[in-house]
């Protein structure tokens, strides 16, 4: 057993960057290679996606969206991970990765059409290298591994980021994907956003051991890090992606964070989780914490903070205006329009039948 641990550890460029508790070391923090503008950009993106997230929840409460799943509190992971990747690297998200998609450059108003029932696939995955949101739990993990295997067969240098929550690690799909990734040394960075709650089931009731340590059983390294430190997440994903790009295979990062909002707009967390828990995590808010650090380093001042808040406010208003002005597509186009590039005859007949069934209704 000890041998296995040693072999894996020798192959682990992340271990040296973090303290045993998962905190980015001061030395690693000073060698990130990010200039002041890049450090400010991380802050700006976190503020932008949090404000957009709040606006999406408002829109749901106003009957403009059918459903919304907030990612409040997880902004450091969204922004840190996306900033660490190249634009050509692929992302296979779960359903809470709206912030990641925004950082990748996808129009947030377009994205929300999914939750408004206007579209089944609002963006072209190939244009943004960003797969559709996966609503079923953990189904995107084998997709990511399979896609990464394809990248290797084509001799590409893309890395695939597979992101999921703590609950997903209880699924069979997750195990199968991890096993394949280990056996075939696929270029995948597995990023677990451990936010402690799988809807109303706490981590303690469905996971007995460490999530990060499970990677050893699949033959690759894993690490548990502070997911509320945007620089820590950036450093971890960058190092794991480099390693994967060099052909050294997958890596599992367990980023510890907290779902500060409800599971979705249909959920009431006050029914199952103690208020004291939220209070404790409020004190670790990723944005407030990073802002304090930037101020201490003299990288950001009050004027910049206010300007960024204003920009986030207008971006949210613009998102609302664009979304609510969007026309409803004809139902036939919405349902059948983006399934095949060359639709087979039977599929076209089905569409015709569907469209004629709507006439007169």
């Amino acid at each position: 057993m000890a041998d296995v641990v040693r072999v894996v550890a020798a192959d682990d460029p992340l271990r040296a960057l973090f303290s045993p508790a998962g905190e980015l070391t001061a030395e690693a923090r000073s060698r990130l290679g990010l200039d002041a503008a890049a450090l400010r950009e991380l802050y700006r993106n976190m503020v932008l996606i949090r404000r957009a997230d709040q606006e999406a929840l408002n829109l749901q409460r106003q009957g403009e969206l059918g459903l919304w799943g907030q990612f409040l509190g997880q902004e450091a992971i969204h922004v840190g991970a996306m900033t660490a990747l190249r634009a050509t690297d692929w992302v296979f998200p779960s359903y809470r990765e709206f912030g990641m998609a925004m950082v990748r450059g996808i129009d947030p108003a377009e994205m929300l059409t999914l939750f408004r029932g206007l579209s089944h696939g609002p963006w072209d995955p190939r244009r943004y290298h960003f797969a559709p949101l996966a609503i079923p739990v953990a189904t995107q993990v084998p997709h990511a591994v399979g896609f990464a295997m394809g990248c290797r067969l084509k001799h590409g240098d893309e890395v695939v980021l597979s992101t999921f929550g703590d609950g997903a690690t209880s699924e069979g799909d997750w195990h199968e994907a991890m096993n394949f990734a280990g056996v075939f040394k696929t270029p995948v960075v597995f990023l677990c956003q451990n936010n402690y709650w799988a809807i109303s089931v706490p981590l303690s009731k469905q996971t007995a051991g460490s999530i990060a340590d499970r990677a050893l059983g699949y033959g690759f390294p894993g690490i548990r890090i502070d997911g509320n430190d945007v620089l820590g997440v950036y450093a971890a994903v960058a190092a794991a992606a480099d390693r994967a790009r060099q052909g050294d295979g997958p890596y599992l990062i367990e980023a510890v964070t907290y779902r500060m909002g409800a599971h979705t707009s249909s959920d009431d967390p006050t029914r199952y989780r103690p208020e004291s828990e939220l209070e404790a995590w409020n004190a670790k808010d990723p944005i407030a914490r990073y802002r304090a650090w930037l101020e201490q380093q003299g990288i950001i001042d009050e004027g910049t903070v206010a300007a960024i808040a204003d920009a986030a406010e207008s971006a949210a208003q613009a998102m609302r205006a664009r979304l609510t002005a969007m026309p409803t597509p004809p139902p036939g186009e919405a349902i059948f329009g983006r399934v095949y590039s060359n639709p087979p005859e039977s599929f076209l007949r089905e569409r015709e039948e569907f469209e004629s069934s709507l006439e007169g209704s």
Binding site: E55, N58, Q60, R61, Q62, G63, G66, R116, T324
Partner: protein, 406 residues
């Protein structure tokens, strides 16, 4: 300047109605986009609805406590600017007006219920578990859900009705009364009433509690009050009660603890956060005096007075009504009540009730004399504390109260 009516949207994937808990705005008031309009409670959650438009509140269409169907008008807003009138007319998503009861799915759900035998209970597994936990017999209930299904609210209402007369829970004013054909009135249970009901059911159905009584001699307490009054700081007996409870807790820390059911452990709490039972127009509220063990008597007096005032005015924040570790209730404050059997405020271990201080015959050095005195009763969680320890705590409390000096 066009009027736009905002209709209740489907807030949670297939809901058909919501209950209005409270308005956050008034008719004639101005709102911006996203200004909180009201709180509603659906079958799934209590949610705040933000305004979809900027403008002036022209009309509120529902009263607190009323049920509003999805698609029914909630509020009419006079738009602030001409551009606002272009905003979308609400309820783009969900069932909307006219949709209920027409869908195939709905029919399939309702039809079998009619033919079902009375012994066949329709309830979701978590509702069955809840009923089991609360000791409610599902076969005795009539379900209010789709197809006669028994809901969580049905079970909670059934469990709450016998506990409604508890000494801790004050009577509430009815929020709304639906008309009924046979002279009965049905009162919607929302907001604070509902919270009290849940908390009390949780207490009596999960905590084996017993009560002990004692009488204390309040001569010194009254003398200290008189002396305080003379030097310009008037004080009710409550701060003295709180200070004495804190001192007695310091000697018996187990009284300031919680039973952790999930781990079979007792959590002994560090700060003493004293909950103060306050009767308000909305019902019983329990603001919490945090860190009472770090406060002098005058600070206890000032802070508790502020909390009580805030509770009555409805201005307390949720954080000021949570985190209590022991509760004090003054049952003698507003009537000739000598004492009572208070119900523990979960997850606490102990609640202390003080009766009215008044002159009563006491035996002092073999002679019957008139002295000021009052009853104290404590209810404690028997899983944590046995009778012997409760008696020691009560003895310490009496001794603290009797040895008060100015």
């Amino acid at each position: 300047m066009a009027d736009q009516t905002f209709r209740l949207p489907d807030l949670g994937e297939g809901l058909t109605e919501a209950q209005l808990v409270a308005w956050r705005v008034e008719e004639g008031g101005r709102v911006d986009v996203n200004t909180p309009l009201c709180e509603v409670e659906t079958a799934k959650a209590v949610v705040v609805i933000p305004s979809p438009w900027a403008g002036t509140i022209h009309k509120l269409h529902a009263r607190p406590g009323a049920s509003v169907a999805v698609g029914e008008p909630l509020v009419t807003i006079t738009a602030a600017e001409a551009t606002q009138a272009e905003a979308t007319p609400g309820t783009l998503v969900g069932y909307g007006p006219g949709a209920p009861e027409s869908g195939i799915r709905r029919k399939a759900r309702t039809a079998p219920a009619v033919t079902e035998s009375s012994g066949d209970v329709r309830a979701a597994p978590f509702v069955r578990q809840l009923a089991k936990d609360m000791g409610v017999d599902l076969t005795q209930l009539t379900g209010s859900g789709p197809g006669g299904r028994i809901t969580r609210a049905d079970v909670e209402a059934a469990a709450a009705s016998p506990a409604a007369a508890s000494s801790l829970a004050a009577a509430s004013s009815p929020t709304t009364a639906a008309p009924s054909t046979d002279g009965e009135r049905r009162i919607s249970v929302v907001g604070i009433r509902k919270a009290i009901a849940r908390q009390m059911v949780r207490s009596v159905s999960t905590i084996p509690q017993f009560t002990e009584f004692a009488v204390f001699d309040a001569t010194n307490l009254m003398a200290a009050r008189e002396e305080g009054k003379a030097s310009g700081r008037s004080m009710t007996p409550l701060p003295y009660f709180i200070a004495a409870v804190v001192k007695a807790v310091r000697a018996y820390p187990l009284m300031n603890s919680s039973w952790d059911e999930s781990r079979d452990e007792i959590i002994v709490k560090q700060p003493v956060n004293v909950g103060i039972a306050v009767n308000t127009s909305q019902g019983l509220l329990v603001p919490v005096l945090r860190g009472a063990d770090q406060l002098e008597l005058t600070a206890i007096a000032e802070k508790s007075a502020k909390l009580i005032e805030g509770a009555r005015a409805g201005t307390l924040l949720p954080g000021e009504m949570s985190g209590g570790t022991i509760t004090v209730t003054n049952v003698g404050a507003s009537g000739p009540v000598e004492t009572g059997t208070p119900i523990i405020n979960p997850p606490e271990c102990c609640v202390v009730a003080f009766g009215a201080i008044k002159p009563r015959p006491m035996v002092v050095q073999g002679q019957v004399v008139a002295r000021s005195g009052a009853w104290i009763s404590i209810s404690v969680d028997h899983r944590i504390v046995d009778g012997a320890l409760a008696t020691e705590f009560l003895t310490a409390l009496v001794s603290e109260l009797e040895s008060i000096s100015a």
